[in-house]
Symmetry: C2
Subunit: 142 residues, 2 copies
């Protein structure tokens, strides 16, 4: 496997260890995932991985802005690879989380205008029902 995160770590003067690569690959693979799920997933192929190392590395990677905390209402804290701004869509049926990249400038400008706030960053979560689950519900009715 090509270790896409090797250079990211090096760029931050962090050593490229198996543990760190496993953590980053796991998070990257899942998109959004919480600590326990990361641990369980990695533990399958890598039973010697310790939780102390996981916690330490998660914190370090957040500090270095390689990871980002995702705090969704009514959910355990999750982590994701830091990407460009996007909206989190949280499906109430299947608990899935989708990312959507969409123009938020008009809203941000309206907020600035109304509040006088200079906005540097935004975090948007929307709760609802995803396309797949909507379709499932519809099928079961008809």
């Amino acid at each position: 496997m090509i270790e896409k995160f090797h250079d990211v770590l090096k760029a931050n003067n962090l050593k490229s260890t198996h543990q760190r690569l496993a953590i980053l690959n796991c998070i990257d693979m899942h998109g959004h995932i919480d600590i326990d799920a990361i641990y369980e997933h990695i533990h399958l192929n890598y039973p010697s991985m310790s939780k102390a190392t996981l916690y330490r590395n998660i914190n370090d990677l957040v500090t270095f802005h390689i990871l980002e905390e995702v705090k969704l209402p009514h959910q355990k804290q999750q982590y994701e690879i830091k990407k460009v701004p996007h909206i989190h869509l949280l499906c109430q049926e299947c608990s899935g989380v989708e990312d959507i990249f969409i123009e938020t400038k008009p809203l941000l400008e309206a907020v600035t205008l109304q509040s006088g706030f200079t906005i540097s960053n935004s975090f948007i979560v929307m709760n609802g029902t995803c396309r797949v689950c909507s379709h499932k519900n519809f099928s079961s009715i008809s």
Copy 2:
């Protein structure tokens, strides 16, 4: 003091105790506040208040949708009285949190269109610099 939350509690078949009223008033007074701050605040006038009661009630009030969890990135979890949807503005200078009530329908519609999501609820946080802090910075430059 008129106990505005007495009826809210009764409506949910929860007994209107001093502790619950103190918790709700404290949160209402502050807008957004975390558990420890609630405890300290209530403890001043009400030293016998126990943390167990605070935790139990916070959880109960969230369950009954009287309170709402507010999870802001890089902040401790806070609580607020459940209100109509609004945007949280988080100032990076003074750490203040403002609420702003603004039209988000166009964005929600765009999201629905692009993703097929049926949105029931949204949670929006914007980070930046509030009007007061912007002005402070400007003054110190000129």
